[in-house]
């Protein structure tokens, strides 16, 4: 278990403030936040590469504040891979072996296993500058994993890859986490990346932790407008109960959602164009389509009701077959259980 207790780190122009986190052993934990929020800095503080100003970083209740990075039994994989350009792939992978008291036979076996798993056998004598992004990332992972680290820190491992490679790497990371049973801590600015991978996570904003919990909880029950927006809830309203256009959502369903809450948030994919079924589970509403924004296979459909605008996300097929166009008045449905208030 990694514990961060009131950790502060001050740099010129930026600081991490009172970070408290608990990362369970063998967990796949995600640290999420927009660019410049301090997630990579937090990762380096855990690794010991950036000295913390105050607070305690501990592993299994053992304070590791004064332990240098090379003795923390952690590995880090950087966004831009950080492969040593003057070494071959093989030399990169075995770089750290000499610093660890690992049995020779076991290391050789592990090397073969990793090379096989990561499909690196034909690349072993090549230099990093001749590799593709995906190959570099696999080498960086093999280099960290050959040392069997108790904790693997991943700094935006997907962001430098194209979408197809991202899917491959997501599957690889999931498999590696399962096989190596280490704690994986991944930093990402994209919530969709971690939905598939992580079990628990924390959202960081301007150097402070905004919310922690299971990924499911962060996704479904954000506790602030920032988290809601970050997790893709495009429809966020302040004081919804006093907004006439939204009043039906509160009137028809008794105590749910709670009318006294300050914010209401609604995922765009939760707004339905067909009535999903049993009565009293949905609120039927009507509005005028003002804009359609193409997102490839789906559209963002902006619907206006009085002074309120809602964004729905509907498939391209539905938008075309139902002839949803700007200016048309359309019915739509909001399931009560998809409304989140806080």
């Amino acid at each position: 278990m990694i514990n961060l207790n009131d950790v502060c780190l001050t740099l010129p122009g930026f600081s991490l403030k009172n970070i408290c986190l608990s990362i369970p052993s063998n967990d796949f934990f995600a640290i999420l936040g927009p660019t410049g929020s301090g997630k990579s800095l937090l990762l380096e503080a855990i690794m010991g590469l950036m000295p913390i100003t105050s607070g305690i970083v501990s592993i299994d209740n053992k304070n590791i504040n004064t332990l240098p990075p090379e003795k923390r039994n952690m590995g880090i994989v950087y966004q831009d891979f950080a492969l040593f350009p003057h070494m071959t792939v093989k030399q990169n992978i075995v770089y750290g072996v000499r610093y660890h008291a690992l049995p020779r036979a076991g290391t050789a076996k592990r090397f073969d296993q990793l090379v096989d798993q990561m499909e690196l056998s034909r690349l072993l004598n090549r230099y990093p500058k001749t590799l593709s992004g995906g190959e570099k990332q696999r080498v960086a992972l093999a280099r960290a994993l050959i040392l069997n680290p108790g904790i693997l820190l991943l700094d935006e491992p997907l962001s430098a890859l194209d979408p197809m490679l991202q899917d491959d790497l997501k599957n690889l990371l999931k498999r590696l986490h399962h096989e190596f049973s280490s704690t994986f801590v991944m930093v990402s600015h994209s919530f969709s990346d971690v939905l598939f991978l992580a079990k628990n996570g924390a959202i960081i904003r301007n150097g402070t932790i905004e919310q922690t919990g299971t990924i499911k909880n962060l996704f479904e029950k954000p506790n602030s407008a920032f988290t809601a927006r970050f997790t893709g809830m495009k429809n966020i309203y302040v004081r919804p109960a006093s907004t006439p256009a939204l009043a039906p959502l509160f009137r028809q369903n008794g105590n749910l959602p709670r009318w006294q809450d300050r914010h209401m948030a609604l995922r765009p994919e939760s707004i339905l164009h067909d009535n999903p079924g049993p009565e009293n589970t949905c609120c039927a509403m009507e509005g005028v389509v003002t804009r359609l924004i193409s997102r490839g296979f789906f559209y963002d459909v902006i619907i206006k009701m009085d002074t309120v605008e809602l964004t729905a996300q509907w498939s391209r097929h539905d938008v075309l077959t139902k002839q949803i166009k700007p200016g048309r008045r359309i019915p739509f449905f909001i399931p009560f259980n998809s409304i989140h208030t806080f």
């Binding site: 240098p68 990075p69 090379e70 750290g96 610093y99 230099y127 280099r143 960290a144």
Partner: protein, 229 residues
Amino acid sequence: MPEMADLISTIREKTVQQALARSLMTALCATLAAVIFGTPLAYILARKSFRGKNIIEGLVDLPIMIPHPVIGIAVLSLFGRNTLPGKMLTFFNVEIMGSLTGIVTVLIFVGAPFYVNSVKSGFETIPLQLEKASRSLGAGMTSTFFRVTLPLVWRHMMLGAVLCTARAISEFGAVVIVAYHPMTAPVLIYERFTAYGLKYSQCVAFWLILISLLLFISMRLLSRERVER
């Protein structure tokens, strides 16, 4: 152009051989000192932020900007017999005025800025994350420096050494103030030019140029980029 017979007879002169050897040796000694002391300084200047860094950078660059006889005068003023550093050197039997030590000292002043600036920019081009990745893989700071940083900055060090040697081997203004004797090749060329005219100085100049050229070509060959597949 000097004639071949003149060139051969000039290089057979013991005074010329000694002056050329002295120039080469003192320049290489100054470069060695620049490598030993300049490399850590360049690393600190490239990697660390601290109060007074701009002043240190300014001091490093100063010898490039001021007339070189001024450097000679400054060295003599600093290490003169009546100054504290001068007295300390005398105590240890180290002489600056009119000695090889004096020549090497001024050559360090004039050559080291080129070395430090070249190596500093080399360190700056190496991503910090490579060093961090090395630390995360178990290497300590020293090991990281020798296995990651040094191999990547090697070419900048060689380039800096070439520049430093070139500057040192051609130095005249500062050397002539500190040590007219023992004579280095530029001082000998100057003396022959003023005493005997152009023809006599040309031959020594030719050999100095040739030796310098051979030295720099070999240094460049040593530092050329390896072809990687």
